[in-house]
Amino acid sequence: MNYSFDFQSISFAPLWEGLMVTLELTAAANIIGIVGGFLLALLIMSPIAVIRLPAMLFVEFFRCTPAIVQIVWFFYCVPMLFNVFLGSMTMGILALGFNLMAFNAEAYRASIQAVPREQIDAGIALGLNPLQRILYIVLPTAFRASIPVLLTNGIGIFQQSALVAIVAVQDLMYQGKTLATETYRPIETFTVVALIYFAVSFPVTQVVGYFERRRHLLMS
């Protein structure tokens, strides 16, 4: 192989711009995912079937279809079916946000249901009413327990967000593709793009590890 690398022709300005768009997408999707996912978790645990079943269907739809299909579907089908036309950025945020909402709802549900029965019993024995038991015992414990999964899901969405490039959102991946075409240097460009994704993701995974170790200590 006598390919000579040329990183000189890669200009960082468009990649930087793309990274900002990617971070914006990630942040917005995470706000939807963290807040909406919690509300959705309450719905999927509802004893009332009319509330629970549609919520479960929503969760399973997003968990059981590829993210790329969801994004394409959002981009092409939603405007036609519901007659709403939003910007491609908004569409991207909604698609990623709803996807994350479904996964986060499951994380919340699992950690709420993992609160030991004895903790609730102790709350009853101390005279706390049902609302107080949820507010002061179940939710604080469950929320702490779900932090590692929320972070993992959140950073997953940062990576998945590269998929919105196919519907012309000008994110990091999109800028990378454009740059690769302009410079005829796909190897160098995508190497740099990959390194940027890595540089953001890796520290977050370390933070997740820290929270998990701490949690094991807390629960022992």
């Binding site: 101390l126 107080q132 414990t141 629960m219």
Partner: protein
């Protein structure tokens, strides 16, 4: 026998409880407990001991029967509409300590103690904290006020759990196998605290597998098996020379006399 002038502290009448149609745990229990008594409930696993305490705490529904507490109706179910009526006001005068996961992991020791007083009784935080520190000092835990449950030993956790229950000035304490999950060397410190309460005439109902502790703490022992009270009497009788064949079998087995 003359009737006591004060009403019994607890009067359980014909308690029935089953988990599904096949498993009957309580088959008509009648137990009366006088103020100042320390009732130890012993018996084989699945005999209904823990269920009895959980029912007493209002954690389990019953199929039929009633409980009066301090002369007031507390829990009742007529067996017809499958509804258990629990007077939650009465329930507040009962405290309970469990075997596992007793403390709230996200709160430190003092916060664990003052949560219920502040939220349930609307006590001022400073007042509750002062009482909490007082109790912790009494139980030799003054240095652990700001510690989190994960930083405590099993014995310390159980002592904090006892202090937490006492914050609400219970008129009856329930102890459900509070030393069963502890390392042997930590059992004594928890039992000491319970003995301390006994010395102050705190009425209590205790489920334990520790027969030596039962002997030390009980003013009365009940042997429960198969969902009924098999034998009921002073500790010297039930633990020392039981009258019933089934009690004798059980006592012999736990003391390893026949081997």
């Amino acid at each position: 026998m003359t009737a006591p002038i004060t009403p019994p502290l607890v009067r359980m009448q014909s308690l029935h409880k089953s988990y599904g149609p096949a498993i009957q745990v309580l088959k008509g229990l009648d137990i009366e407990m006088q103020p100042g008594e320390r009732l130890v409930v012993i018996g084989p696993s699945g005999g209904g001991k823990s269920t009895l305490l959980r029912v007493m705490m209002g954690l389990e529904k019953i199929d039929r029967g009633s409980i009066m507490f301090g002369g007031k109706p507390y829990i009742s179910s007529d067996g017809l509409d499958k509804k258990t009526k629990i007077d939650t006001e009465v329930r507040r005068s009962i405290g309970m300590v469990f075997q596992h996961y007793t403390l709230f992991p996200h709160l430190n020791v003092v916060e664990n103690l003052i949560l219920a007083p502040c939220k349930v009784r609307k006590e001022r935080k400073s007042d509750a904290t002062e009482r909490a520190v007082g109790l912790l000092t009494r139980f030799g835990l003054a240095g652990k006020a700001k510690a989190y449950p994960s930083q405590l030993s099993g014995g310390q956790k159980q002592r904090v759990a006892i202090a937490r229950a006492l914050m609400l000035d219970p008129k009856l304490m329930l102890f459900d196998e509070v030393t069963s999950a502890l390392d042997p060397e930590l059992v004594a410190e928890v039992e000491q605290v319970i003995l301390q309460l006994a010395a102050q005439k705190m009425p209590m109902m205790i489920v334990t597998h520790d027969m030596w502790f039962a002997k030390n703490i009980a003013s009365r022992v009940i042997f429960c098996a198969g969902g009924v009270v098999v034998e009921d009497g002073p500790p010297e009788q039930v633990l020392g020379s039981p009258k019933e064949e089934r009690t004798r079998d059980f006592i012999d087995r736990v003391f390893h006399i026949r081997q």
